[in-house]
Subunit: 259 residues, 4 copies
């Protein structure tokens, strides 16, 4: 088995190498990750500019490792096509410092990398720990190894990828695991205004999320000190809205064609 490890915190992030160290015991590992932090770039792909990659001396010996001047999704694309000759069996993105929950997964670079693996037909997992400081990576690394074995044994459902979040706790203080849905939050981004001497500027600052801790959601699991695993797909279609829209369809068509 050959695992591609990437992230959005940048190739020198401690979370990535903790993960690589653990995975290396059970699998071949290739690392292709951004050379700079790439938070909030979501699933974006660089189509307008060429990309450069550079092989690095990895902190964990014997692991072929490249950094790319691009997004996490760029890293996955280059890893699958150019920077690695052999087939990739699994994409692991993380271990991210900070949770990736609910609607925020749509702008998460960590999840964006896993999504890109999934779109290329490869089992993919995004791994995050819910803290920006004093992050406990060990439980997440251990969970990664367990998931790798399940995926290797083809025990996991196809056609999805996984978004995994852990509470920031040592393994023995984690109180279990929940298979969850993405939660909802209220957005409260603030925009700092300033002036650079010549022009006004605006700086988007993520506010503290105000989560609705509804039972069965990812945030609900974390608040109970449990691991959250959410199965994701790439399909944003709202199934519930199809019927009501179909009923409206004739009147829309009518208004469109008949002035």
């Amino acid at each position: 088995m050959r695992i591609l490890v990437t992230n959005d915190d940048g190739i020198y992030a401690r979370g990535l190498w903790t993960l690589v160290g653990a995975l290396k015991e059970v699998s071949e590992v290739v690392v292709v990750a951004p050379d700079r932090e790439q938070s909030a770039v979501g699933s974006s792909v660089t189509l307008h500019q060429p990309l450069r990659a550079r092989e690095i001396t990895p902190p964990v010996k014997g692991v072929k490792s490249y950094c790319v001047e691009g997004t996490p999704a760029d890293c996955v694309i280059l890893a699958l096509r150019n920077l690695n000759d052999s087939e990739i069996d699994l994409v692991l993105s993380g271990i991210n410092e900070g949770a990736n929950l609910g609607d925020d997964v749509l702008i998460s670079g960590t999840v964006g990398a896993a999504l890109q693996g999934h779109l290329n037909g490869i089992p993919s997992v995004a791994l995050s720990v819910a803290s920006l400081e004093d992050v406990h990576f060990d439980a997440a690394a251990r969970l990664a190894v367990v998931l790798v074995r399940k995926i290797g044994a083809e025990a996991l459902p196809k056609d999805i990828f996984l978004n995994v979040n852990l509470p920031n706790l040592p393994l023995d203080q984690i109180r279990g695991m929940e298979i969850t849905q993405l939660g909802r939050r209220s957005y409260s981004d603030e925009i700092k205004e300033g002036h650079d001497g010549k022009r006004k500027y605006y700086w988007i600052v993520r506010g503290k999320p105000e989560w609705q801790p509804k039972e069965g959601t990812d945030i609900w699991a974390l608040l109970k000190d449990k691991i959250s695993i959410t199965p994701l797909h790439s399909d944003l279609t709202s199934q519930q809205a199809l019927s009501p829209l179909k009923e409206l369809s004739p009147t829309i068509l009518h208004d469109l064609f008949i002035p």
Copy 2:
């Protein structure tokens, strides 16, 4: 009613101003759009750098218009908080040159802007025409006006946003409309390799998509010269995968805690 118009082709794109010209007849319009083309940036938000905005002289008179040195999602965020004092009732993103279909909506800046409007609780629509050349914008602009009226009349379902694609045809050659699901495509991105004199580079080039024209999908509608309207939500949760994952959950937990 006050409509925010944005796009990912950049504020000087013809599609945007065709849309503004049509909407202005039925509503107040504010434009906040990127100063440069921002294709494939998806829903990414600029958190690491400050943003600058500039009021421009609009090609359509009397429309307050700003460009932002940022992504389409940045534009929506600044428009809702800083560049506009009054409440926005609707976000319209487009008219994009080129279709935004299937899995590709996840990296589309056009859809990313509509998603950001939706996350802020505002009815939002992404509008695209399926051609990069000789684009017919008129039918799309007219459809936008029809949809604005439906949304104004609260006829559309809540909790979703709309992804609208039109065939590149004059209105009288369009053969109808379908309420669709996102389709699937096979990816065939190519990566051009080159050398800049000092270093090798890689350039991701989107391949021609190979669509699976399954009945009921957006691509299927377009292939029949019909308009496709797909209701989208922000929830990537795979409902079908919840049960099988829950069955697996105890063995994962077991392997995690018991060495």
Copy 3:
């Protein structure tokens, strides 16, 4: 005569179009300028990335105008080779908001564009007005016309380009002109430190320059409400230091070859 006008404040800056309006009366004018503000980029050239250009609708009618997603020097290079078929006789960069004096010319994008014109063998002038607010562009525009006539008449010395700074005054309050040398300033840049939630950042903020108002320098002229014209070349060689260094040369060689 055909004049290329560019700047570093960006193609929509008022100073550029005031200049174009004045020049158009006496010459053919082509505009190629950055699409965004590009202060402090100096003479830098974009070699790592491709550049995009876009023809714009100019505020001054009948002037072929392009903006480039690049630096002022990039604009000059593209203008001379690709965006314009006819020969350019003169490059005018400005009218910049804010003086470009002394050592600062080495990081000025306004001067960097004129330097690039000069390196390509074309008479070139950088034009700046010494204020960031309520800028009087009229005297500078009028001076540009006068200089264009001198250059057209081949009255100006070859092998140099000009750095012109005006006090921020209406023409009738300007007290004359000096041909000057570049002055010296003490640097007092401040670095604002901040934190973006995930990482510390540093922001370089230009301090108020503390100039040494030595007689004969550009800053000395401005302080007397006079226009400063400084002849520049592209040669940073210190002629005075050649002899003392040559005396040292044998001992350096000795130490290098004999351990």
Copy 4:
């Protein structure tokens, strides 16, 4: 003595660490260099955006080392003010892969870093080897040590900084040293045109320089397999042009004030 080492090839370049390894034997060394290659950015300073720095694990043990997401000049500014508490006695920029000669020093990031050191009152040296492939760094590193000793002994003239270029040869094949002036070259940049599917692009490609190998210039020294040391200052004033311009000054003034 404490030396700041930087470059424009990026902090992981071999030339930088060969230099650091040699300097470490004779001085304390601090490294602050760009995280990415920054060729052709010249002396540009990032004023519009905040900068991030990251301490790295250096390939040469015991050397405090930071990379900055910015230009070489940014690195020098941050090193002198924020990333290092103790006084810097010397700035060394390099060892660059590729010569930095003649007019090209004005767009060289290697020279731009040395210039920034010089503007801050610190003796500064730019070091380059004239090849992009199979670069011999040893002679340059050894020369750096020799120069450091001269500068420490205050044997070098003040008010200048040094631009040093070496032929790409082992030390014993180098045929001496010349104290030189900057040479002249003919520019022959090519611009590759292409299309990204949506838009045309232009890519500036440096042509092979056609040097005028005039006696006494840097390129003349290199062509004889000698080391070139050019004393530089920050003053672009053309002394020769001052008199002829002063003669013209009254007619310019006349034309300006009298219509």
